[in-house]
Amino acid sequence: MRIENFLRDSARLHPDKTALVAGGRRLSYAQFDAATDRLASSLTQGGIGRGDRMLVFMNNCWEAALSLFAIFKAGATAVPVNPSTKADKLAYMIGNCEAAGILVQERLLPVVLEARAIEPRKLFIAATGSASDGSSGDIAGFEACLAGNDAPVNHGGIDVDLALLIYTSGSTGRPKGVMMSHRNVEAAAGSITTYLENTQHDVILNVLPLAFDYGLYQLLMAVKLGATLVLETSFAFPQAIFDRIREEGVTGFPLVPTMAAMILQMRDLEPDFLPSLRYITNTAAALPPAHIARLRELFPRASIYSMYGLTECKRCTYLPPAELDRRPGSVGIAIPNTEAFVVDDDGKQVPPGVAGQLVIRGPHVMQGYWRNEAETNRMLRPGPNPWEKVLYTGDLFTTDESGFLYFVGRQDDIIKTRGEKVAPKEVEAVLHAHAGIAEATVFGVADPVLGQAIGAVIVRADPGLTEREVIRHCAAHLEDFMVPRLVEFRRELPKTDTGKVSRRLAAETMKAAE
């Protein structure tokens, strides 16, 4: 099934039910369905056709939710982009996926115009707010697009077409576009809502960016279920979010470990202060067992799901809440209708207790990376049957005697900070572009709130260069979560005995110096 049919079906079954609460607006399923039909017509009129890539560059506003479904309804492929992305990376994405258009929030329009100057190509651009009142030339107004023709677009697409292209930090330093078909999304969404025991009566509150697949799927799953999604832009003020949970009777609350750490730092919370919550999910990195125990005290009625996944298949495993006491350090078992197994370097399954690479098999596994055959072949390899490929995750796991999985570590240097993946090479490339920097290496340092903080050890070319100048340079070129928190200048980079620059040594020596 194609994703836009989630919305059409829910609108037919529950036309008056609230689908979306965001930015002071409440949209029923009927309104959501009609508005996205009109927006899709406007996209078609703007030249967007079946299979075209269309970027969505917005924070968690109602316009972003509408944009995604309108893109599916136009038969195009949605490319959600983190709103803190800077112009040069945006230009790279536009060029890499040969984008046909971009839907952008007013505040971010200058970044789009800068990116278009770097990567000139014909783009259909529609912006929210008053930026598009005609004074910006060829920029269409989002509101005007919402007033389009209300007949559904007949694009002819089927469910093996690409629904999503989600860029993820690549170990080579350039982001890679993960290709997910409509069928992939339906399989993942169906599996996840099965183990979460979701129903149309759920009210899900999402503060995670829609550009991050964990946040994006909260929208896709809510619409598939005919449930209600409360969309918020940030967890900066947890009390304000708790008020929203009480006001809306929220039942489902997805977290990343940084949010859990923020909740646990609060001083005045009483057990059972949010009694409407039926479940809490955590992914991106494992929660420490002490945090799980404290969350269970604060949310005694809620089932807590520890999960693990990567964008390349959306979700790999979950721990059934009943197992939490017995195996608090486990990320569980394969999600329904998929398989997860641990293999050695020859691809053979290893016995319990032996570490190996986690391999994922199922209908949720991506189609590959956009126009990147080498990386695709590294991750997707022949499976047990001649007609299929399985996903080699690059993550090391072990299993216990009952088959429950435990995360051991990564095979590469990817840093996980605030729930997001960061390739050190991407940050190093920005550092090396600074004239005052001779050499730099970037790595993760354990941090109680962020999971890992990004550290950088730098050899200066300009002896006057300050830490703050380095951070400011990074902030101008990288998404917020990629900016180093810890910067240290040294005479040379830490190297192994064979003379190779060592991120591990850099991390260890920075930790020792603290």
Binding site: Q239, R418, A475
Partner: protein
């Protein structure tokens, strides 16, 4: 508006969240969150700064946008607290 409180808050925000970028035109009444000047973990740093600099403890219920989401709001919030404390310490 208390100018010294305002100045110290603004300096903290520019130093820590704009990394000393004084070219950025930080208006007193703009939302720090909506404009992505401060993120979620930044709020924790801001709270720690207020507690240390102005010598009072924030309750969880104080950490809300109405008190902390712009330079003007933070100044008003801090001023109301420090004024109340000064009053309570003043001789009867």
């Amino acid at each position: 508006m208390n100018q010294s409180v305002r100045h110290s808050i603004k300096t903290f925000i520019i130093d820590n969240f704009l990394f000393g970028d004084t070219a950025y035109d930080l208006q007193d009444d703009v939302s720090l969150i909506e404009n992505e000047i401060i993120d979620s973990t930044g709020v924790l740093e801001l709270v720690a700064f207020i507690e240390e600099q102005f010598g009072f403890t924030l309750a969880d219920s104080d950490i809300v946008p109405a008190n902390l989401d712009s330079v003007a709001r933070i100044t008003a919030f801090v001023t109301s607290h420090t004024d109340a404390e000064a009053l309570s310490k003043a001789p009867a």
